[in-house]
């Protein structure tokens, strides 16, 4: 039973050089066709994972702020009919802070969006150009201002640990970001993903990514500053005033079920992992053919699910309840985490136990991937 749905809008005005998400640039989009197709894809999921009221809906992309507000309204209307809305339902939409899109914020709010996630990315014009963004700093702040008036809950993204970025520069930028009073911030370290233009640039030595050691210093600085400002990290890159966490994203990290519709969307339904066709045209024709856009639907074994739950859950400040996890997947606790390693890394201060919960400490978070490799037994991961 999924209580969260993710809706993917795959279109962007331009591809950002760092982004490896499923985004596409198209001359024109047949809105009518997309509406029919998304609705069909949604109905298919509702049939398989309905029955409980929705707690969160997330419009991601691509650039979902480019969707006509009427389409957003239509999709929400359908979702409500299919699942029903739980009280306090969170409906988030990712938006780019251009003036054109900001002009739509009022209609989006009227359509039902109650949380906006703004891709501000930086407060520095030069950096925004480096990141290939279409807006400048002033435009971004103006959009933020409108968003804060239109939506009760607003979050925005910043990208840091950029080439040559010093602690001084980041400290100033982050202090400014915290001064706007949003109760949620997503602060990502720049990573060079394979297949992106940045990956090519790095290969051709056009720029050098920031080294791990200074990046680790910036990570610590970020956690200290956000905590001091009352927005502590509740996940590796996400910071919120307690209670203002993204409920939808918590669904992923707590490894609960979610439906994913639209091109390239992933879902977890019972013990199944679902994925939609990535390319918009392929997804459309799949929906046309089958009334849904699923490309693969595969069974996950209990160990696979447990390893997924661990690698998602340990990202959270709250950690993972090992007893509950053991019960949920029928796997003994000693087979979830290598006991000797748990002791070793507790002694070294990377993890700690709080009751039944295994929690990664401030020291452990910046090396979480390595830590997972140490803690999670191979039998859980390697088939």
């Amino acid at each position: 039973m999924a209580r969260a749905i993710y809706i993917h809008w795959p279109f962007c005005l331009a591809k950002c050089p760092y982004c490896d998400f499923n985004s596409h640039v198209r001359e024109s989009v047949d809105i009518g066709l997309w509406e029919r197709s998304l609705l069909a894809d949604m109905r298919y999921e509702a049939e398989l994972a309905g029955g409980e009221k929705l707690h969160s809906i997330f419009f991601g992309g691509g650039t979902p702020s480019l969707m006509p507000p009427a389409l957003v309204a239509r999709l929400l209307e359908e979702a409500e009919q299919l699942w029903g809305f739980a009280p306090g339902l969170e409906i988030t939409l990712e938006a780019n802070p251009s003036s054109v899109e900001a002009a739509n914020f009022t209609s989006l709010a009227n359509a039902g969006i109650n949380r906006l996630s703004l891709g501000i990315q930086s407060l520095d014009d030069q950096v925004l150009r480096f990141l290939g963004r279409l807006h400048d700093a002033r435009e971004g702040l103006a959009a933020l201002d409108i968003a804060q008036k239109q939506f009760r809950r607003v979050s925005f993204d910043l990208i840091y640990a950029r080439p040559g970025q010093t602690a001084d520069i980041w400290e100033k930028e982050l202090a400014q970001a915290l001064s706007f009073g949003t109760e949620h911030l997503s602060l990502y370290q720049l990573t060079i993903e394979p297949g992106t233009r940045f990956a090519t640039d790095v290969r051709q030595s056009k720029f050098t990514p920031l080294d791990d050691d200074p990046a680790a210093d910036l990570f610590t600085l970020t956690r200290e500053m956000t905590a001091a400002a009352g927005l502590p990290a509740y996940e590796i890159s996400n910071h919120a005033k307690p209670g203002e966490e993204s409920r939808h994203n918590l669904t992923y990290w707590r490894y609960q079920d979610y439906c994913g519709i639209g091109p390239g969307a992933h879902g977890r339904r019972g013990n199944k992992a679902t994925q939609r066709h990535r390319k918009p045209e392929n997804w459309l024709s799949a929906v046309e053919r089958n009334s849904h856009g699923t490309q693969t639907e595969s069974d996950l074994t209990a160990p696979e699910q447990a390893s997924e739950a661990l690698l998602m859950g340990l990202r959270l400040a709250e950690g993972v309840d090992l007893k509950a996890l053991s019960k949920r997947f029928g796997i003994a606790q000693e087979n979830l985490i290598i006991a000797s390693r748990k002791i070793l890394y507790s002694e070294l201060g990377f993890v700690r136990m709080e009751g039944e919960r295994l929690i990664v400490t401030d020291k452990g978070m910046p090396v979480l991937d390595a830590l997972l490799g140490e803690l999670v037994p191979a039998e859980l991961v390697v088939s």
Binding site: T191, D212, A216, H266, D369, A370, L371
Partner: protein, 600 residues
């Protein structure tokens, strides 16, 4: 059988790449041993490794029928001998089966050290040696200079050396005539009890163990009950024949002849090289001279990279051993590497060959520990023991003296590299015995401890001489040395697979070099890792790997679970190729690094 006067048994002595195999191919071709179509290049070197490296590992023979200018048809038995010092004993047995040898020397490169070693062995066997100067059609060929060199260095009369180009087919008839006219026929008595030398043996999946023999006296026939005089076993001969090079069965092998037999033998181990074969009943009473038990000189541990492959390794080693009784193995359990085998080899090349065959033919990923030699320890209580594995080193206070094997090395080099070669030998505790110049070349003779040579002496020699120096050695026995056990500690825990016995004078530089290499090879962990080299409790070198600061996926949402999981899977697969030690994952390259420590 063939009349003794019409038999010629000969081997070919040559340095690698001087054209031995090509010449052999030509001889086979000209005498009609194989049609052009059948003649795969270099027929005699069967194994891939033999072909790639241009070396012969197993002795082989081929019988050629040649009608000479005197009108008579001769039976020529060409014995292809292993060409490396590691197989010196096998070479000596092959040579003992012949009456003469062709000494093939490259017209451009001249005499090399390996040629020298084999030619001296051949002379010791009273062989008639026919110098053949090959590759005379090369632009750089200087046959007259090479002739002079043969006379000066070896002391052979080279005035009637045969000039050939095996590649172009020049001078092949002349070689055949020289064999018939200059190499003496074998001797033997048909009426005496059977006495044959076991030259070599190998395992054939269809025939079982095939034995290469040289009949000295008497006759060998199918149906005979034969006895191995050293091995003591009795077998029934079920096939007698020769190689042309294809197998041809014959009614019998008479005195002076070389050929093969099969006798329902399951393991090559039973057929010891150099053994004397006689009849089970009424056989000879006296064995042929020269038999030696094979002894391993170099040891190393072989471990599967993936511990799950241990059974496969056991099986593969067993199979290889079917065909090569000269290496030994016993199970070993290393704290760092898990279960594996301690193997003994005739030398470094032999070690590499076995390792390569396991990797290649049996598709195994192996970790090879640093090679070590056999030390003899005299304990304070007067008892002695042999140390094959540094990990088994007893408490030093209980050791009175330690002895290590020494070799006499002959190095032959263009003189511009002499300086750096002398330095290399000096650095490796060498003692110079002799230094002579011949033309633009120098021949140096050094006594060297074998444990200094098993490291990377040969690689270093090749690199400082740009490949021009050649090297040969013989063992000269044990000598006492100031030897110490050097331990490598990673994160304060000794890693048994990296410990080694070194001379006290070498401990510091080697310890430093190894720590530096390990620092580069062991990935950063979440904590600081000290790497130390120590003798007993005394640390002689130290490096530190700083802690990893960042390794985290910044963005991870619903769609990324599968990707992140793949990352974790890869990480876990990667760990299988590492060994856990004191909470540190050490990649297999680190173990191999101990092998390849240059003194750069």
């Amino acid at each position: 059988m063939t009349e003794l006067s019409l038999i010629r048994n000969f081997s070919i002595i040559a340095h690698i790449d001087h054209g031995k195999s090509t010449l052999a191919d030509r001889l086979i071709q000209v005498t009609g041993g194989m049609t052009e179509r059948e003649l795969k290049e270099q027929v005699l070197d069967n194994m891939d490794i033999e072909r790639e490296r241009g070396i012969t590992i197993k002795a082989q023979t081929v019988r050629l029928d040649y009608t000479a200018s005197d009108g008579k048809t001769y039976e020529l038995n060409l014995m292809d001998t292993p060409g490396h010092v590691d197989f010196a004993y096998e070479v000596s047995r092959s040579l003992a089966a012949c009456e003469g040898a062709l000494l093939v020397v490259d017209a451009a490169q001249g005499v090399e050290a390996q040629t020298l070693a084999n030619v001296y062995q051949s002379i010791e066997h009273d062989h008639e040696i026919v110098p053949v100067i090959n590759k005379i059609d090369l632009p750089a060929a200087e046959p007259e200079k090479v002739k002079a060199e043969i006379e000066e260095v070896i002391g052979l009369d080279a005035s009637d050396a045969v000039m050939t180009s095996a590649k172009s087919g020049i001078g092949i008839e002349e070689v055949l005539e020289a064999i018939v006219q200059r190499i003496p026929p074998p001797q033997g008595d048909r009426d005496k009890p059977l006495k044959a030398m076991l030259v070599d043996s190998w395992y054939d999946p269809y025939l079982g163990v095939v034995i290469l023999v040289r009949v000295m006296d008497g006759v060998m026939k199918k149906g005979q009950q034969i006895k191995f005089m050293q091995g003591g076993t009795v077998h029934l001969v079920d096939r007698v024949g020769c190689m042309r090079p294809k197998i041809e069965q014959l009614p019998e092998l008479g005195p002076g002849e070389i050929g093969f037999i099969t006798a329902q033998i399951k393991e090559v181990e039973q057929a010891k090289v150099g053994d004397t074969i006689t009849l089970a009943k009424g056989g000879a009473t006296e064995a042929l001279p020269g038999y030696k038990e094979v002894q391993s000189v170099v040891f190393c541990g072989l471990f599967p990279v993936d511990a799950a492959d241990f059974e496969k390794l056991r099986e593969s080693i067993g199979k290889l051993r079917l065909n090569d009784a000269s290496f030994t193995f016993e199970m070993e359990n290393s704290a760092a590497l898990g279960f594996g085998f301690r193997c003994g080899f005739l030398g470094l090349l032999h070690l590499e060959i076995i390792q390569e065959r396991l990797t290649r033919e049996y598709d195994l990923d192996l970790i090879t520990t640093a090679p070590s030699v056999v030390y003899r320890l005299t304990m304070t209580d007067g008892s002695t023991q042999e140390l094959h594995n540094p990990a088994d080193m007893p408490d030093p206070v209980k050791i009175d003296t330690m002895e290590e094997p020494w070799i006499k090395a002959t190095i032959y080099t263009p003189d511009e590299h002499l300086g750096s070669i002398l330095k290399l030998c000096q650095d490796r505790r060498g003692i110079q015995l002799d230094l002579t110049y011949v033309g633009g070349r120098a021949q140096v003779v050094y006594e060297l401890p074998l444990n200094e040579v098993v490291f990377d002496f040969y690689d270093r020699l090749k690199s400082i001489s740009r490949g021009y120096a050649s090297f040969d050695y013989e063992q000269i026995g044990l000598r006492e040395g100031d030897l110490v056990m050097m331990n490598i500690l990673v994160n304060n825990e000794p890693v048994d697979a990296l410990s080694m016995v070194v001379h006290r004078s070498q401990a510091d530089p080697r310890g430093r070099a190894l720590c530096e290499r390990l620092k580069d090879l062991i990935p950063r962990h979440m904590f600081k890792i000290p790497i130390q080299a120590a003798i007993g409790a005394k640390v002689i070198a130290r490096e530190t790997i700083s802690a990893m600061r960042k390794d985290v996926t910044a963005k991870c949402y619903g769609g990324d679970i599968s990707r992140k999981k793949k990352l974790l899977e890869k990480q876990k697969e990667g760990k299988k190729r590492m060994r856990e030690y004191g909470n540190v994952s050490i990649p297999q390259e680190a173990f191999i690094a101990a092998l390849r420590m240059g003194d750069e």
